[in-house]
Amino acid sequence: MITVNNRDKLKWEEGMTVQEVLDEMRYSYSLITVTVNGKLIPAKEYDSCILEDNSDVIVFHLAHGG
């Protein structure tokens, strides 16, 4: 199980990447930062960063507009 933003749960699958989590959550926003278990993941590694089961993923949206 993957936990997103300390709230949402996603089913973990072998080889699951950060990008797949973003896609599943429909997080398409341009101003985000992502940490996995507290470690910052650079944007260019979203496709290659493989998640272990029980990972804690924080997808932090910076606001704009408003």
Binding site: F60, L62, H64
Partner: protein, 664 residues
């Protein structure tokens, strides 16, 4: 997306690089020194000075290229120090030295390239000025890329080439932004303009240039403010179920693409250059449509310029169910022409439409107009009537609060339902965001001193998406900080967009709570204040400046008969689903909340039963966040600033204390 990797060889060593990276960057990242003159970290490389020349080999061919603007696309062999390279660079440096022998930047490059002979290329062109222009072109690129102007450029050909403004005169379009001066490697450009008499122009320039550089380099991959302005938010809000559709019933719609930023950019916006919002602003986010042909009203058949649409206007169209960019442009034009706010006009009309669809009003009340969602032509008729002061337009112009009372009194309309769907607080119409799933933003809107507008607090992502302010106290802290920070912009006549519609990449390095503040930009603005006034200001000082005004505003609100608890409740549409249709459209979300947050099991229950429990839960949540926020702001349980708080802020003037006492 993962970038494609390529292996190249540099001076015999293998290096893995991302495809399309400029070669100079690769060399610098690997600690290889390459002389440069025209290159600048914040500007597009141009290859003008040719000093960064290196030798590349690929499939048996060898050639010299300027590394600054050479994108790596093949498995090349790079030599940065070959005899050929050294010879080329030395010759170039000798030529530069011959022409500008006393410019420190040239002397430094000459040393790096082993050029020592000042005399070799000495000629009638030789300029002894140590601050001579060396024709590197950085200033021209800064003008174009930082603030999207072309005020300074090369003139002449060959040996007569020089840098100038048009016709050798100071161009009136130049606002003295100093971008050119900032990037000049020799000090050839000096701007005397200090008409605002800042305490330290240098401080202001240094922090301002960071923003200019961010706009030039980051915006295209962030919010695209230069490209489409705030219209970019239409796409984002629709994607996150936050775009108000049909009087805030829903948060997205299949037809949003007809009014989104892609549509507006491709088919509508024509002025791609900076507009007159603030001449010299490097964001230049206001977009306009030229030669738009008006179809209705007094300007019918005329070709006009439309200033927009911006996000709020486009979203107001979604709120009225009018997914038609032609309509959005005409609605925008007439609101501007008549002096009507597009937000109030859109939100009020959305309320009228829902009332019409529910039979609360009929064609008899609207002068024969069928005001259903999507009735674009009828909306424009109402606007024209409003401007002419006749027909239903007169009622429309009074706003939601007035309409509710009229319909209750004259038509016997159901008060509770109108209260629930009439999106106003304190008599002002809501701006265009769906707040149902963000408790903090419900309070952000409803507690805003001047009514539910978003420039006091916008915390939907922080709350609903990021879940970074989970407790009532966390939300209250955000509802304390952000309204004060945003008030500070207003206090100093500054635009808020440069704070968080462009974000430095280093923001990633801060923990989330801090990152949300965009801490480096907060620092930039405080430094700007210092540069202007000569007085240093820290975050605590900023908060105090704003808190004084914020509390004063609240008391003024009180004087106008609004600033207490009863005025701080949003209509239920802002908090949750008012109708069955709404609940059922997002049934999974609401049922989940009932299961997880209440003792109520939604299984097998009617929508009406579920809506009742959800409403009780959400209204109680709102009360708690409101109470916590009053406490954090130093207000009493009725939402009135306490005398102690006024004392703390040094504004316990007798006339203010009197307002508090009278209304206690």
């Amino acid at each position: 997306m993962a970038a494609e990797k390529i292996n190249i060889t540099v001076n015999g060593k293998e290096i893995e690089v991302e495809k399309d990276t400029y070669l100079l960057k690769v060399l610098k990242d690997n600690g290889i020194s390459v002389p440069t003159l025209c290159n600048h970290k914040d500007l597009t490389p141009s290859g003008t000075c040719r000093l960064c020349v290196v030798e590349i080999g690929h499939e048996g061919d060898k050639k010299l290229v300027t590394s600054c603007n050479y994108p790596v696309r093949n498995e090349i062999n790079v030599e940065t120090d070959s005899e050929n390279v050294k010879k080329q660079r030395k010759t170039l440096a000798e030529v530069y030295l011959g022409r500008w022998p006393n410019v420190p930047a040239i002397k430094k490059i000459a040393r790096q390239c082993g050029a020592t002979d000042n005399e070799k290329y000495k000629s009638e062109l030789t300029d002894d000025n140590p601050k001579a222009c060396v024709l590197c072109g950085r200033c021209e690129r800064a003008c174009a890329e930082f603030i999207q102007e072309n005020i300074i450029d090369f003139a002449g050909r060959g040996v007569d080439r020089y840098m100038t403004m048009p016709f050798e005169e100071v161009d009136p379009h130049c606002v003295g932004c100093r971008s050119c001066e900032y990037v000049c490697p020799t000090g050839a450009i000096h701007i005397d303009d200090d008409q605002n008499h800042p305490a330290s122009g240098k401080t202001i320039r240094n922090y301002g240039m960071r923003i200019n550089a961010e706009m030039a380099t980051l915006d295209k991959n962030q919010c695209r403010m230069r490209e489409v302005g705030t219209a970019n938010i239409v796409d984002v809000m629709d994607e996150y179920d936050l775009l108000p559709v049909h009087n805030y019933k829903f948060g997205s719609h299949p037809d949003t693409y007809k009014i989104d930023s892609v549509m507006l950019k491709n088919k509508y916006f024509t002025q791609k250059s900076p507009d007159g919002c603030w001449k010299g602003c490097s964001m230049a986010c206001a977009k306009t449509i030229d030669n738009f042909e008006i179809k209705t009203g007094p300007y019918k058949g005329e070709s006009v310029v439309v200033d927009g649409p911006e996000y709020e206007t486009a979203a107001a169209c979604a709120n009225m169910g009018c997914f038609d960019a032609d309509f959005a442009a005409e609605f925008n034009f007439y609101c501007d022409t008549y002096g009507i706010d597009t937000i109030s006009a859109g939100t009020c009309m959305a309320f009228i439409m829902e009332s019409f669809e529910n039979g609360i009003i009929t064609k008899e009340d609207t002068g024969g107009k069928e005001l259903k969602f999507g009735a674009a032509g009828e909306v424009l008729q109402c606007l024209h009537e409003m401007a002419e002061g006749k027909g239903f337009g007169v009622d429309y112009g009074q706003g939601i609060r007035w309409l509710k009372e009229k319909w209750i009194k004259e038509l016997g309309a159901p008060r509770d339902f109108l209260q629930d769907i009439g999106m106003e607080t304190k008599g002002l119409e809501f701006s265009e965001y769906v707040t149902k799933e963000s408790l903090a933003q419900q309070a952000g809107y409803a507690l805003a001193v001047k009514g539910p507008q978003h420039d006091e607090a916008w915390m939907i992502f922080m709350d609903m998406v990021n879940n970074q302010i989970p407790s009532f106290e966390d939300k209250a802290e955000a509802l304390y900080y952000y309204p004060l920070w945003r008030t500070w912009f207003g206090l100093h006549g500054l635009c808020k967009l440069l704070w968080n519609d462009i974000v430095p990449t280093s923001t990633q390095n801060y923990p989330p709570q801090e990152a949300a503040k965009v801490p480096e930009h907060v620092k930039d603005f405080l430094k700007f204040y210092e540069g202007m006034t000569g007085k240093p200001l820290d975050e605590a000082g900023m908060l105090e400046q704003s808190a004084r005004v914020h509390n004063l505003q609240r008391l003024m609100c009180r004087m106008l008969g609004y600033g207490t608890r009863k005025d701080d409740f949003p209509p239920y549409r802002a908090m949750g689903p008012v109708t069955k249709e709404e609940y059922e459209s997002r049934v999974e979300r609401y049922d989940k909340q009932l299961r997880e947050k209440t003792d109520f099991d939604p299984e097998g229950k009617s929508t009406a039963e579920k809506m009742k429990v959800l409403r009780e839960y959400r209204e109680d949540q709102y009360l708690q966040v409101m109470n916590a926020t009053y406490k954090r702001k130093g207000w009493d349980e009725n939402g009135v600033p306490t005398i102690e708080r006024l004392k703390e802020l040094g504004i316990d003037l007798p006339e203010l204390v009197e307002i508090i006492e009278i209304n206690r």
